[in-house]
């Protein structure tokens, strides 16, 4: 029941998580802006307090990290999944020209990132910590008294990541958990967050991100620019010119599908499942597969996953596969307490 309770909280109320897998680095100095321009594959139109969801690539244009780049005056925060603090520092130093005037401050050791997600996350945070959090726009952050609040999230629901000093994390966690019964709040682990990301087709560096492919196959071209220079830029352009063979496609199945399962069409292998999980909210299995680009379309019911007697039918769909409650919850109208007074659409 633990997993089901976490999924329920994430999709219907509020869930609290600790993002120990996220590395946080602060870049400062006169060369910080040039440094992030070189590192980041997207165009940088970032004002103070804004965040950009981007990627880090290797020289082959394969994705190595899922990155939030955040501008704090002339400095930048990087919130990174896929690289440890040491690996991140090594990656950054490897990409910078000799003598670049940038200081790197690995904040992971002295800070903890608490994540609050769910359709009523805004309400829980505003009651526990600061009412002003409600007005924080998506993809922006604010330095509050003693911590920084980033409005982002990868669940499809309202999401806030709090970067708090490690020695104050327990106090803030306790303040949030004092509201546990008011919001039917649960503590959600990484597996539950990853399942939400899968249902909403958010990129996951620990799943499909291991496939050694470029942003083109992953349908992440919105995070890259073809008109600037960055690590992997020329390989990416060459790859685009040559044409890609596969594209990430969302799947549903009534029986179990697993990462590594082959996808077949008329007894021919057409791809591989790179992410999969049981959706307790939907009541079926959700997956992502890298499928031959000519067949990578939603609305097809003629594929199978797995081999032999274990092969199961799968159908391709347009993600997200959840009509998130957060699409319909309005902080000016709704509260968790009065949620039953409103006729919200079903989640699927």
């Amino acid at each position: 029941m633990k997993g089901e309770d976490q999924a329920r909280a994430l999709r219907h109320s509020v869930a609290l998580s600790s993002l120990t897998h996220v590395s946080c680095m602060r870049l400062a100095g006169v060369g910080a802006s040039d440094a992030v321009t070189r590192l980041c594959p997207a165009e940088l139109f970032l004002r103070d307090g804004q965040m950009l969801h981007t990627l880090f690539l290797d020289d082959n244009a394969h994705v190595v990290a899922d990155v939030y780049l955040c501008r704090d005056n002339a400095d930048f925060y990087l919130l990174v999944e896929g690289l440890s603090g040491d690996q991140l520092e090594q990656y950054i130093r490897g990409a910078l020209p000799p003598g670049a005037q940038v200081t790197l401050d690995d904040m992971s050791a002295e800070h903890e990132i608490l994540s609050i997600n769910g359709p009523y996350a805004w309400e829980a945070l505003s009651k526990a910590l600061n009412p002003e959090i409600v007005s924080l726009p998506y993809m922006s952050f604010y330095n509050m008294e003693g911590y920084t609040c980033f409005r982002a999230g990868k669940t499809g629901e309202f999401g806030y990541d709090l970067m708090v000093p490690a020695d104050d994390a327990e106090r803030i966690r306790s303040r949030l958990l004092e509201l546990k019964h008011v919001f039917d709040m649960e503590t959600a682990d990484l597996e539950a967050l990853d399942q939400c990301a899968l249902e909403n087709f958010f990129f996951n560096i620990r799943r499909e991100g291991r496939a050694k492919v470029t942003p083109i196959e992953l349908q992440l071209q919105w995070r890259v620019s073809y008109s600037k220079d960055f690590v992997g830029a020329s390989a990416l352009k060459d790859h685009k010119q040559a044409g890609v063979k596969t594209r990430l496609t969302c799947l549903l199945a009534d029986s179990s599908i697993q990462i590594g399962d082959e996808m077949c069409h008329e007894d021919r292998v057409i791809g591989t499942i790179v992410n999969a999980g049981w959706s307790g909210v939907r009541g079926d299995f959700v997956g992502m597969a890298l499928i031959e680009v000519d067949l990578a379309y939603p609305g097809l019911k003629c594929f199978t996953a797995g081999v032999g007697d274990g092969a199961v039918p799968v159908r391709t769909v347009s993600p997200p596969v959840i009509d998130n409650r957060s699409l319909f919850v309005n902080p000016q109208l709704h509260t968790y307490k009065t949620r039953d007074d409103f006729d919200f659409p079903p989640l699927c």
């Binding site: 993809m139 087709f201 071209q221 919105w222 379309y297 609305g299 993600p319 997200p320």
Partner: protein, 99 residues
């Protein structure tokens, strides 16, 4: 390839081309056609359209395809990604043909 299967893909490709065309020609996105991936979010992240873009998009869907997006719930679900918009257009065209 099975003819139904091929027809489904051809129909999606045609509608996808329409939407990409609207995004580039009418909403002035500085992208090549093949740089707009089908499952890209339209709002928030992804193409990061705003509320004025949404109105332009709705107007273009009406003027180019004769389709009218009505109702807040329908908007929010249909306009999540390029592909969910394709799904909605296919559904609307199919309903039109049945009438």
């Amino acid at each position: 390839m099975n003819p139904d299967f091929a027809a489904h893909i051809a129909q999606r490709d045609e509608i996808l081309a329409h939407i990409r065309g609207i995004l580039i020609d009418d909403l002035c996105m500085e992208r090549e056609l093949d740089e707009i991936d089908p499952d890209t979010p339209l709002f928030g992240t992804g193409l990061a359209l705003d509320s004025l873009d949404a109105l332009d998009l709705i107007a273009c869907l009406y003027s180019r395809l004769g389709l009218s997006l009505q109702g807040a719930s329908a908007h929010r679900v249909a306009m999540r990604t390029v592909n969910t918009l394709v799904d909605w257009i296919i559904e609307q065209q199919s309903e039109k043909n049945e009438r």
